[in-house]
């Protein structure tokens, strides 16, 4: 007998997310006419995207459509070649100081967690605060324990990442980002490397985070998550933003053929 694993979001958490603070008026991220090439390959085409403070955006689209590249441009893990990206009023250029400033404001969670395997969970979480923000160790550890509590693994603080399950590792990765007090959180398919029974624990944490009013850009195919928390869903294909809308009309009444095809494949 195969076990049916539910990735339904916990209703209580979902309810809290619905009462999250409404997005503000200021744009925290602005992308104007962004283009990017990998050699000859045109991976991002004329991307225009504005994200308001506190807004939660889900990005979906077929594999290879440029979703990862899009969000990686926001903290300059990738460089764009044309157009303008402004994060929190700072334009991204080659200026290393500006890049480091923006990276301090923007947290990122990866598909493969990318925890530091030679450091304990607690050290993973305090590294940034201590070395980048120059906070005292005691204070950094207190903050770290607070966020480990928030992602529901306070008891794992002194273990090494290699001793945790995938779901636990991803929650540590989220806590590690939060310890930097970011203004924006980027998620690149945070649940797609996880076994089904672990997806829910990570999604619950993310929904919980959404209800605190954090600005979130989430690349994911978890449509339950999109319906619950997203203010906007963006569909990308072949490096372009094909369609964007609030979740309800996006799922029930997609406009473009490519969106319809994609939704029919994943739903």
């Amino acid at each position: 007998m195969s076990k049916q694993v539910s990735t339904e979001i916990d209703p209580k958490i979902a309810e809290a997310a619905r009462h999250a603070p409404k997005p503000g008026m200021d744009n925290i991220i602005e992308m104007n006419g962004v283009n990017k090439w990998f050699g000859q390959f045109h991976v991002l085409r004329d991307i225009n995207l504005k994200v308001k403070q506190g807004e939660r955006i889900v990005v979906c689209g077929p594999s290879g459509s440029g979703k990862s590249t899009l969000i990686r441009c926001i903290n300059r893990l990738e460089e764009h070649q044309a157009g303008q990206i402004v994060v929190d009023g700072i334009e991204l250029t080659n200026d290393v100081k500006k890049v480091e400033t923006i990276r301090r404001e923007v947290g990122m969670v990866f598909q493969h967690f990318n925890l530091f395997p030679h450091l304990t969970v607690l050290q993973n979480c305090t590294l940034g605060p201590i070395w980048v923000q120059k906070r005292p160790q005691r204070e950094a550890e207190e903050t770290a324990r607070k966020y480990l509590e928030r992602v529901r693994i306070p008891e794992q603080a002194n273990k090494y990442p290699g001793q945790l399950s995938g779901g636990q590792q991803q929650r540590v990765a989220i806590a590690r980002s939060l310890c930097m007090n970011p203004r924006v959180m980027l998620f690149d398919e945070p649940t797609s490397a996880l076994d089904p029974e672990m997806i829910k624990e990570v999604l619950d944490v993310m929904v919980g985070l959404a209800s605190t009013g954090m600005t979130m850009l989430v690349v994911t195919h978890e449509m339950g998550f999109a319906r619950t928390v997203a203010d906007r869903v963006i569909f990308m294909d072949e490096g372009q933003i094909v369609e964007e809308n609030t979740p309800e009309p996006f799922f029930s009444n997609p406009q473009h053929e490519r969106t319809k095809l994609f939704l029919s494949q994943i739903l």
Partner: protein
């Protein structure tokens, strides 16, 4: 009716065939006709060689403090030769009545090295301890202060010289090679070109050539009147040589790290050097421990090449010890003795590296 046993059954020994030494031998040594043949062959070989060797080394050996003629009569090894000449082997040409100085120096440096192996002492101040140790070491050997008689470096020899070349080589080559490895992977074209050029140039040349160049060609380019000490020149040649090899070993470790580690470090806003120090190097160096130690073992034994520029290292001192025609035939004993010394140091390094690998592995390689 009940199927649950309610009486206690005592544990039974495992079936005899699979247990004990006999079972083990059956499973591992005689499990096929080919393995059986190999086992018998190996046994025959051991019976033929080991007992005579033990007889020669210990039973028939001459242990007393006697002359060469007694040794010639005996069938076994002549350890009397080592008892007579060990100071010459250990200290080479160093003035006989001053040999307590290198002895203290060696005890000091080996103790500091052993202390540095303890994890609790991996602190920044250990660098200071090492600098002080080397300073005391060189002062003890060289003298000229605190009423110590000056001893020219040409007279330094034996194990103290070998240890100095090795320890200083290990300590100084390490940071240089880390910088070379990082430089080779740098985005800055000039730095990268310098590092690649250095590594490829030096790796393509035998150590002997470097030693020759350092000792015979370098003085040609020096302004007249300025001369660099012979030991120093050999030391520099060794450092230059080893650092190019070590740089490649460390680069291998750097390349083995997944890109995600760099990305996560960037994402936290760490600067380049913070990222290297806290994230990249600790992992890359841990992965590279076996090849790093391999390089160091090579360095330790390669110090014997300084003999060709007339420095009396441990091996040359050994050769000089049986130069005396009376004792010439006992070179085997001399080589066994000195091999044992090299082996003790190398074996310890190798064991320590295995220990390091174990304690630094935080369970991600499961």
């Amino acid at each position: 009716m009940s199927f649950v046993a309610n009486d206690y059954k005592p544990e039974q020994p495992p079936p005899r065939k699979e247990s004990g030494a006999l079972g083990w031998a059956r499973a591992n040594l005689f499990n096929s006709w080919f393995n059986t043949a190999l086992t018998l062959l190996a046994l025959y070989f051991l019976i033929e060689t080991v007992p005579p060797l033990i007889r020669w080394l210990f039973i028939d050996a001459v242990w007393g403090l006697v002359g060469p003629d007694v040794c010639r009569e005996a069938d076994g090894a002549c350890w009397s030769f080592i008892r007579l000449k060990y100071r010459q082997i250990l200290f080479g040409t160093y003035p006989f009545d001053q040999q307590w100085r290198p002895l203290i120096a060696m005890i000091l440096i080996v103790s500091v090295a052993l202390l540095s192996c303890i994890r609790r002492f991996w602190q920044p101040w250990m660098v200071g301890v090492w600098i002080a140790t080397l300073f005391i070491y060189i002062t003890l050997l060289g003298g000229g202060v605190f009423g110590l008689r000056p001893v020219r470096t040409e007279l330094w020899g034996g194990l103290p010289l070998t240890l100095m070349l090795a320890f200083v080589g290990i300590a100084v080559a390490f940071p240089i090679s880390v910088l070379l490895a990082l430089g080779r992977r740098s985005d800055m074209p000039i730095i990268k070109a310098i590092c690649v050029g250095y590594i490829e140039l030096i790796r393509g040349v035998p150590l002997i050539t470097l030693l020759f160049m350092a000792s015979f060609m370098l003085p040609l380019f020096m302004p007249s009147g300025v001369s660099i000490d012979a030991v120093l020149r050999a030391q520099v040649a060794i450092i230059v040589f080893v650092s190019s090899y070590l740089a490649e070993v460390i680069r291998g470790g750097l390349q083995a790290l997944p890109k995600g580690q760099y990305e996560a470090a960037h994402t936290l806003g760490l600067s380049y050097w913070q990222m290297q120090r806290k994230i990249i190097l600790p992992q890359a160096l841990t992965i590279s421990i076996p090849p790093i130690v391999n390089t160091y073992l090579g360095l330790f034994k390669d110090t014997s090449l300084v003999a060709i520029i007339s420095l009396t290292d441990l091996l040359l001192a050994t050769r000089q010890s049986f130069a005396d025609p009376e004792w010439r035939r006992f070179f085997v004993e001399a080589y066994i003795f000195v091999a044992l010394i090299y082996w003790v140091f190398c074996y310890y390094m190798s064991k320590y590296s295995q220990y390091l690998e174990r304690v630094l592995n935080t369970g991600h390689k499961r």
